[in-house]
Structure formats: C-alpha cells, structure tokens
C-alpha cells in the first residue's frame, strides 16, 4: 500500500470541521428548536469523528473511549432537550425561537 493514495489525516479532520460548521450554522440560523437540536447532534457527531480519526492516527484507544461517553451525553442531552421542548410546547404552543423571548427583560 503506497502512502500517497491514502487519506491525509488533515483531510479527515477538516471534513469533521466542515460537518461541525454546517451544524453550527444550522443552530445559529434555523428558528425551529427541533432542527437546532438536530444540528447540535450533528456537531457532536463531527467531534466524535475527529476523536476517532485522531485515535486511529495516534493509535490510542482514548479517542474511542471519549466517543463512547460523548454518545451517552448526547443521548441524555437530547432526551432532556426534547422533554423540555414538549413541556414548553404545552404552554407556548410554538417551537419557534422568535416567539420565545422569555430571556429578554
């Protein structure tokens, strides 16, 4: 296996970065909370991929372990997030962030 047709590590990482920023722009631009949560999931996955890529490159299992825990956190986060969303939806009847301006005093 000659080395030149292998994938350069920075390419993988920049791919993760691209996914991450797509997710980030989604979070910042979209108004629908569900889509925002999905984009957050997307960002988390990008990070996971970067972890695994480095683990593979540096030949250390630490990366994969981290991914494992991130997945757990992501699951808990989305569960609670959606729970909140439902509770909020029950009172405010909307999922659009523009209407939900409780923070503004």
């Amino acid at each position: 296996m000659n080395t030149e047709n292998l994938v350069a590590p920075w390419v993988v990482q920049s791919f993760c970065a691209m996914i991450f920023f797509i997710g980030l722009s989604g979070v910042l631009v979209r108004r629908n909370i569900l889509v925002i949560l999905m984009c957050v999931e997307l960002m988390l996955n990008a990070v996971n991929l970067s972890f695994v890529a480095y683990a593979h490159q540096l030949q250390d299992m630490g990366g994969q372990m981290a991914v494992f825990f991130i997945i757990v956190v992501a699951a808990a986060e989305s569960a609670v997030g959606l729970g909140l969303l439902i509770a909020m939806f029950r009172t405010l009847k909307t999922v659009d962030t523009d209407e939900i301006r409780l923070l503004k005093e």
Binding site: L28, V29, R31, T97, D98, R101, L102, L103, K104, E105
Partner: protein, 670 residues
C-alpha cells in the same frame, strides 16, 4: 527693662480683656462704669511712659554711635537658614517714637475715661486701646522687620476693632472692615518687600541690614532695579498704613470710631508707622532715586489732594481726618526729598497738635451731645472756654505761624523740598499751596465752630436721648438704657479728665517746635547715628533763601487765615460764593467721587467675578465634569443593555464571533 514698655499695655489688655469677657459678658451683669478699666489702662500706659522716659535718659547718657539698648526675649522662628529672634531694640529714632506713643497715649487714655463714661462696655474699649499701644510699641521697638510686621498688622487689627467699636451701626462696622482690608493691601506690599530684602540681604535684622548697606561692594552686587522694587514695595505698605494716595480711603471713614481712637490711632501713632519704617530703612531708600522721587511726588500729591477735599467737609472729624492725610503727605514729601529728620520732626509736632485738635473736637462733640456738623455749631468760645483756647493753639500750630511747633516742622519740610538735592522747586510750590489751603480750611473750621453766633437751638439739645445724630454715634447713650437721665442741660464744657490732656497737649504744641529750630536743631544731632544728616554743601540754595522762604510761608499762612476769616464772617456772602462755583464744591464734598470709583472699579468687578467663578467654573464646569463621569457610566450601561435581545441565536452568534476573534488572534501567532 525694655520688655516692660510693651508688656505693661499687654498686661492692661489682658486684665481688662478677661474682666470684660468673664464678668461683663455674663448675661445680666450690671453695667460697669468707665473709671476702673480706664484707670487700669491709663496706669499701664503711664507706666510704659515712665520706663520710656528712663530709657530716653539712659540713651542720652550714651556716646552717639553706641546709642541703643537691646533686650532679647526668646527666639521666635528658627527654620533652615531663617533665624528670627523676638528681640527689642531701642535706638535714638525709636525712643522718640516710644515717647510720643506712650506720652500722647497716656493723655488720650486719661481723656477717654471722661469721654467713654456713658459707654456700655468701657472694659472692651480700654482693652482694645491697650492692645493697640502694645502693638504700636512692638512695631517701633522691634529689632527686625517681621517683629515690625507683627506690630504693623497688630495695629491694623486694633484699628479694625476700635473703628467698628460701635458695631451695632452697620456703617461703622463697614468702616472697620474697609480700614482692615485697605491696610491688608498695603501689608501685602510690605510682605513682598520683606521677601525681597531677605533674598537679597539674607537677613531681616535692622542692624545687619544697616551694616550691609554700609558695605559699598555688597550694594554694588545688587541690581538697582531690585533695590528700587524693594523700596517701592515697602512704600506700598506705607501708603496702606499711612493713608497715602491710592490707599488713603479708609482714614476718613475711620472717623466712625470713638474720637479718642481717632486721636490716638489716626492722628498720632498708627498712621506715622509708615514714616518710622521709611526713616528706619533710610539707608535703603536713599540708594534709589526713583523710589524717593515717587515717594515725594505721591506725598506732595496726597497733601494737595486731601487739602482740597478738606475744604468742603462739614463734619468736624472728617475735616481733621483729611488734614491728617494731607499732613502725612507732607511727611512723605520730606522723606521723599531725603529730609527724613524733617519728616520725623513733623511726625512729633503733628502728633501733638493733631491729637490736641481731635481731642478738642471730641470735647466739642461730647459737649454738643453728638453734634458733629460744624454748620450747626458756632459761638462755642463762650460755652467751652478751655476747649476754645486749646483748639486755638492747635489751629495756629497747624497753620504754621511762628513760634508754634507747626511752623518749624512744616517750614523745615518746605525748605528741604526747595533746596535738597532730591527736591525740586515744583515740589516746594505744591507744598506752599497746600500750606495755604491748610490754613484756609483750618480757619474755616475754627471760625464756624467757635466764632460767630450759635446756630443751634440749645433747648432741644442735651437730655436723655439725642435722637438727631447725623454722623455722630447715635448709641452714645444707647445700649437700651438711659444712662444720664438728668434734665436737658445745654452745651457744657467737658469734665476735668478731658480738659487736662487738652491743656498739656496745647503746651506741647507750643513748645514742640523748639527741638528742631533750623541750623541748631537738637533733633538732627540726636538722630545722627540713625539718619545721616545732609551736608549743607549739596543744597542748591544758601541761608538767605532759607530765611526768605520762611518769611514767604508765614506770609502765605497769615494771608489765607485772613482771607478765610473774612469770607466766613458773614455766612450769607460765604454761601453765595459757594453757590457760584457749586459744581466744584459739590465734587469736593463728595471726595472727588474716589470711593464710588473704587467701588465700581475694584470691588464690584471682583464681586461679580467671584460670583461668575463660583457659578460657572465650580458649579457648571467642574461639577458637570464630575457628574459627567456618572452619566457616562449610566449611558454605557444603557447601551450595553440593548445587546440583550433575548433571542438565543443572537447570543450564540456573539459567542461565535468571540471565538473566531480570539482564535484568529491566537492563530496569528504561528
């Protein structure tokens, strides 16, 4: 022994002061008579007089050049290279002054016992009088300029307290304030003059200064401009204290004080302190011709100017006040032309006859129950014979008729103005014209007061309450009680305690001139160590012209007396003439509107300026700037608050921007 001269009046002050403060001030304390405090004060000053006479005799015994007595009390200020000792030093010049101060002072204290008999708080009056004598003696006996300055401002304070003694009358309080502030302006000049001397001579002790003045090489090192500036600054101090042209305005208003005060302070002693300073530092002054010339010109101008105003004054004390300003002008004219001895001689003679006339005027006012307007007097020669005779002596002396003292001292000044190297013919002419005017207004006052028919209605006079008091101190009998409730008794001669001093002063006015007869004057020879006499060679004229001038000045005096006597015999003709040039008379009466000019030129602008300063600078500018900081922080707070839009996305975007910027900054480093 020296320290007792100033100390006795100080003790008198403390006794009277504490007695007044602790006993008199208690509510419900019974009114005290004037005799006890009066006696304490008079004894104190009389003691000082005896000791000064003893010192004088002691000095007489000494050889001419070693003629001084010193006494070191304690060292006052010792800081860095400045080492001031509180020490008294009496030499031939200051002993004369101490004699005058204590002598005339004693007479005036004695006189005041009678004069202030109806006053409510005599203790306070005599305490202030003694404090004044203490300050004046310190001024004259101080061995260095700061001690002289101590006395200098001390007498300023006492004149403030005494002028405003009847503080209940706002005019009198204002007059006191005016005197103190005018003196303070002069004292500023004196202070700066002292600093100049200290920086150039390195010392403030008189003895060391005179030593340095003698050393030609030392003097050459100092620039003439510095010397002239020093002399002029000191002269500014003198104009403040001795009421010369720019700063004389306070003296006429000072007549608001009781008459003995005017006699002691504003005739005999305080106002002459300027002359004492100039003659004490005559070595310094004679170094700069310009300074002496300004002194002579201002002296002459003041003399002439004050004489013109005196002519139109109707209040007896105001006439005397302006005549004092005029005579002081003469003294500075003398010092200006280098005849310091003549100046001192005139101080002494002036002290005698001016104090005499003030006391005479006081006894007239006392007798006329607070009437001070000479137009409402007349014919008092019958009612008040002793006052009349003594006043006559004073009048003749001031007009300068031989053999009275006024003639000798004034003539000496005129002769020196004419002939001395620093003098000039023009100055003599101004002096002569002023002499004529002096004779004129003095005769006018004398005639209107004592001669002719009485122009007042005796029945309305006297009695418990003298309601009508044009200028007089209306509360003479005031303080809420009728002190002499006896039946309305007409114009009466003053009691013995007032007339004795008058007689003594009259004698002195007659005899006073003999100490300074030209060419064999004991005074010149006595003051030789302090004031080097002029060698006649430098004079521009010989003896014959001197005697000729004497004759001329006597002739002038006689002519103007006769002229004045004639005009005022028939009052109708006098008032007709006055009406003819009413405009001039009116301006003279209003003192050439000098007070109003000062008010609008100096006092009003300063007042408005300070209001503007306060309102605009302090409140508007600085406070607004300070409060501005408060508002700026409030405004930024407000601006920041708008950033909290409440939408999560916006916060997230801000985080992103922050992240981007910081990463950008970090990455830049690679």
């Amino acid at each position: 022994m020296l320290k007792w001269i100033p100390l006795l009046p100080l003790i008198g002050f403390t006794i009277n002061g504490f007695w007044y403060a602790l006993i008199q001030c208690r509510p419900g304390a019974k009114k005290a008579g004037a005799t006890i405090p009066g006696l304490i004060a008079t004894l104190a000053i009389f003691g000082a007089f005896l000791i000064s006479v003893k010192t004088f005799l002691e000095l007489k015994g000494m050889p001419a050049e070693g003629r001084f007595v010193e006494q070191h009390l304690f060292n006052w200020i010792h800081v860095g290279d400045l080492d001031l000792k509180m020490a008294l030093r009496v030499d031939s010049l200051s002993t004369l002054f101490t004699l005058v101060i204590t002598g005339v002072g004693t007479l005036i204290h004695l006189y005041s016992i009678g004069y202030m008999s109806h006053d409510a708080t005599p203790g306070k009056f005599f305490a202030y009088l003694n404090l004044f004598c203490f300050a004046m003696l310190m001024l004259v006996m101080g061995s260095s300029l700061p001690i002289l300055f101590l006395g200098w401002e001390g007498v300023g304070l006492c004149s403030y307290l005494l002028i405003g003694y009847w503080y209940e009358d706002l005019e009198k309080a204002k007059a006191g304030k005016k005197a103190f502030i005018a003196n303070r302006v002069g004292d500023l000049g004196f202070l700066l003059g002292m600093f100049m001397i200290y920086t150039h001579f390195g010392t403030l002790e008189f003895t060391k200064i005179t030593e340095l003045l003698a050393r030609g090489d030392f003097i050459a090192a100092i620039s003439p401009a510095a010397i002239t500036a020093t002399c002029l600054l000191l002269f500014v101090g003198c104009t403040g204290k001795s009421a010369q042209i720019p700063l004389y305005v306070w003296l006429p208003d000072a007549m608001a004080g009781p008459t003995p005060v005017s006699a002691l302070i504003h005739a005999a002693t305080m106002v002459t302190s300027g002359i004492y300073l100039v003659s004490r530092l005559n070595g310094l002054f004679s170094l700069s011709h310009t300074a002496m010339m300004t002194m002579a010109v201002i002296g002459g101008l003041t003399a002439f100017f004050a004489a013109t105003i005196a002519i139109a004054q109707n209040d007896i004390k105001k006439v005397l006040a302006y005549s004092t300003v005029s005579q002081l002008g003469y003294m500075f004219l003398a010092c200006g032309v280098g005849a310091y001895t003549a100046g001192v001689f005139h101080v002494i003679t002036h002290a005698f006859f001016k104090a005499l006339m003030f006391l005479g005027a006081g006894s007239v006012i006392h007798g006329m129950h607070e009437e001070q307007d000479i137009l409402k007097m007349g014919g008092l020669r019958l009612k008040m014979p002793v006052t009349f005779v003594t006043f006559l002596v004073g009048w003749v002396a001031i007009c300068g008729l031989p053999p009275f003292s006024g003639f000798f001292s004034k003539d000496e000044i005129l002769w020196n103005a004419f002939a001395s190297p620093h003098g000039s013919k023009l100055l003599w002419v101004v002096g002569a014209v002023t002499a004529a005017m002096t004779a004129f207004y003095m005769t006018r006052m004398f005639y209107l007061t004592f001669m002719g028919k009485p122009r007042f209605d005796e029945s309305k006079m006297g009695g418990a309450h003298d309601s009508h008091a044009a200028h007089g101190h209306d509360d003479h009998a005031g303080h809420g009680h009728a002190d002499h409730g006896h039946a309305p008794q007409g114009v009466h001669e003053s009691p013995a305690t007032m007339t004795i001093p008058l007689v003594v002063l009259a004698i002195l006015s007659i005899v006073g001139g003999f100490i300074g007869i030209p060419h064999m004057s004991w005074l010149e020879e006595w003051l030789e160590p302090v004031i080097p006499a002029h060698d006649p060679a430098t004079f521009t004229a010989g003896h014959t012209t001197e005697y000729l001038l004497m004759g001329v000045s006597t002739l002038i005096a006689i002519l103007s007396i006769a002229y004045a006597w004639k005009t005022y015999t028939n009052l109708k003709e006098a008032s007709a003439r006055k009406a003819r040039h009413a405009k001039l008379h009116e301006t003279l009466e209003h003192k050439w509107y000098v007070d109003e000019a000062y008010e609008s030129a100096v006092i009003q602008p300063i007042y408005e300026m300070s209001v503007k300063l306060w309102k605009n600078v302090d409140v508007a500018v600085i406070d607004r700037v300070v409060l501005g900081f408060g508002r700026v922080s409030e405004w930024t707070g407000q601006a920041a608050r708008t950033a909290q839009t409440g939408s999560i996305q916006v916060y997230a975007v801000m985080i992103l921007i922050g992240l981007a910027l910081s990463l950008g900054y970090l990455v830049r480093g690679f």
